[in-house]
Structure formats: C-alpha cells, structure tokens
Subunit: 239 residues, 2 copies
C-alpha cells in the first residue's frame, strides 16, 4: 500500500523549506460626496517605484488573517465596527519582488470622513477616485478589479450602502450612492418604489433646508428592523 503523503492524514513535520510568507492586502473603498475612492499608498519598492499600492501587511504567527486585516485597517482610523469581506488568494510565485508571498485580498468600505489620516506621517497615503487609478504596483490592479467586482455584487444584496450614508439622508443621496458605486443609471421613480417596498427606511418627517429648490424629505435606515428580519431569515434585500 502506497503511503499517500497528505497533510490531513499522516503525521508529517512542517519543514521550513515549504513555508512561505503570507500577507493580507486591503482594498479600502471610501465614499464621500465626490464619489467612490480607494485608499492607496506610494510604493517605493523596486521595480515599482512611483507606483501606488494597496495597504497590506505580513500576517504574524499568532494572529488570524482577519486579525491582520483589522490591524491594517485600524492603523489609521478610529473606526471600531469595521466591515470587510474576503475576496481571493493570490499566489503566483513571482508576484512579489521580495520573494514568495501569498496574499489574501480583502475589501472594506467606509465613510471617508470617518477615516483619520495623520498627515504628517502619511503624506504618501491618498484617496484616489476609482476612475483615476491606472497601473498599480505588484498585482494590485488585478486585486482591485476583482474586489470592485465583488463589491458591486455584494452591495445589491446587503445594506452596506446605508452605513455609508449620513445619519439623515435623502432618497436622492442614496440613489446617487448606488449609481456611483454600481456605475449605472437608475430611474428615480422606480428606485423610490423599490426602497419603499423594502420598508426599511424611517421617514424622519424632516426636510432639507437652505437648498435652492424644493427641499427633500430626510430618512434614516432601520437597522434594527433589518437585523430582526435577517435573523428570522425573511428578507429579500435587492436593489
């Protein structure tokens, strides 16, 4: 009987030769009234000098990948309730000039105003509008593209968008958000009908003021109701 070497069956020792470095890379999407942006950092590493890259770091021995992601995300933010999703692992042996580094990509999505960048130490850190991004260092352009695709899919079925709105928002602000992120146009009346049928918006009985046109009504999102419906599994959230 041929002994099939397999890490899940027989005892094997883990040799150093087969160990590799693991990193996490985060596509940090940000939203503000200017649109959708991604947080990028200057990369000084040959041969990618002058290019920008995603934020990431090596995973330490005693932490999970998620721990590492939280570390990367929290280094420059005061956010505690961080949202992130795993996208994919990238493992081309030549993807990193320092040697073999397998990276797991994640994306996050935050309100730009909640993200405090300490200018003095982070001159090289910048929010770049998604449509202005050209080539990136490493395979980060690929990672970005696949993450963005993943985000667009996710956002239609999960209320991520609402966490990025101000506490009180108008329906037009919300629609702009979806149009910007999804890069599509939506019909105003149909959008409103859809949102109405979800029945997850709270009409605050307030209106905008100081706008030079008919003021819009303000709403907030009913997170409580959303969570309740999700728990009992009765929610068809789709925008």
């Amino acid at each position: 009987m041929t002994k099939v070497k397999n890490i899940n069956t027989w005892l094997t020792h883990l040799t150093n030769e087969s160990k590799t470095s693991i990193s996490v890379d985060c596509v940090i999407f940000g939203y503000d009234d200017e649109g959708l942006k991604v947080l990028l950092i200057d990369c000084n590493m040959p041969p990618y000098e002058g290019k920008k890259s995603l934020l990431g770091d090596l995973v330490q021995q005693n932490e999970t990948l998620e721990d590492a992601v939280i570390r990367v995300l929290q280094r420059r933010t005061t956010l505690t309730d961080l949202y992130f999703e795993e996208v994919k692992a990238y493992s081309d042996p030549n993807r990193h000039p320092l040697g073999r580094v397998v990276t797991i990509a994640y994306y996050s999505f935050i309100k730009i105003s909640d993200y405090k960048i300490h200018d003095s130490e982070d001159k090289h850190l910048e929010w770049i509008p998604i449509n202005d991004i050209d080539k990136l260092a490493f395979d980060h352009r690929l990672i970005l593209d696949e993450s963005y695709k993943s985000l667009r899919k996710k956002i239609r079925n999960h209320p991520i968008g609402f966490t990025l709105m101000p506490e009180k928002f108008t329906l037009m602000q919300l629609q702009n958000f979806y149009e910007t992120v999804l890069q599509i146009k939506m019909d105003r009346r149909n959008f409103r009908r859809k949102l109405n049928s979800l029945d997850l918006l709270i009409d605050l009985n307030e209106i905008q003021n100081n706008v030079s046109h008919r003021p819009a009504k303000l709403y907030s999102f009913d997170f409580k109701k959303y969570n309740r419906l999700m728990e009992i599994g009765v929610l068809d959230f789709a925008i």
Copy 2:
C-alpha cells in the same frame, strides 16, 4: 516621519519567523444517481484518529494554490477539465495540530463515475453521502458547511449542473439533480418552463426505453450556445 512598516511600501526582508505553512483543502462534491456525496479520507493524526477529513496538501514553493488544488484533485482521477472554486481561507493559529497551517479551501464538483479510486492504495478514501457526514477532523466540518453553502449559491447561476448529467438526460433527471443539491422541492411544470425559457437544451428527439411508464424525452445541454451567450454577456442564467 514615522516609517510605517508595510510589506507593500518599503523593503523588508522576509524572515523565517513570520513564514508559515500553507495548504489547500478540497471539498470534492460528487453526484451520482444515489445523490450528493463528498470524498473523504481517514485521518490518523492525533487527536483526530477515527475521524474523516477533506483531501488537501501543502502548497509547494514553486506552485500556485491552483496548481496545488489540481495536484490534489488529479491524484486519483483521470479528469482533465477540472472545475473548482475558491471558498475561503482558514487561519486560526490552532487549527492544525502540527503547527500553524493556513489553509485555503476550494470545492470541486464531479461525476462520481468519472472519478477512479484505486482501491488497493486508497481503502481509506470514500464517498460519503452529504447527509451522513458527522464531525470531521480539524475545522473541516466548518469548511464543508461553508463550501456547500457556496456551492448551492453558485449552482443556481452557473451551468455546473449540466456537466454532471449524462450526455443525454431527461428533464426529471435534471430536476432531481437540482432538488438533491439544493435540498429543496421544485414544481415540475414550473421547472420545465424555466428550462425552456433558457433555451439551452437540445431536444434530441429520442426517448427513454425499457422504463415501465411513459418514456421521457432525452435532451443534451447546448454548451456552445451557452458559451457564446456568456461571451457577449447576454445571459441571465438562473434556476
């Protein structure tokens, strides 16, 4: 200016201390007329003696994760056109008794009849019906559950199912497949209408014979048309 240590910005050397072992684990789903099964192997590793585990292996220095998956899948099969999907990375520092092993989980889905198991050397390898699986070694039960969830989602929007049918199949065989995998009941007439509206089945103008009831018509799947429609991006595949 505080230098932010970051693998994507400044040169750092990759120390051995931060390197870890990486493995891939494959949830190999199989389908035959008895239903949906998973290929499992006996695990002799303390403390999991007597339990079963997924198939997996360590990732070698010069291969991608996908290479490793193909290696694991092809060890016991003659299949060449392997389908697999990445599910998620599992990185709990204590998930493996041999030491730290980060694993990336994949699932595959094949026709059981296409999978040749060499009995003599693989007595410990077995197809287990999905509903008969109890606890597994390591965190493999969790991996299985999340993979199965992922598969159920995928299968409604991708024609994976058709590759698991015999070349010629009846609509009832196809419906059974979806009912088995999704673990739901479907209305026969509505199912047929749906399939018909997709317009991807070829009516072979043949019927079953030697069945003790009205013989069903035989169909095959129009992979050519499917691929053509996918390329031009005009296909709303949903079952």
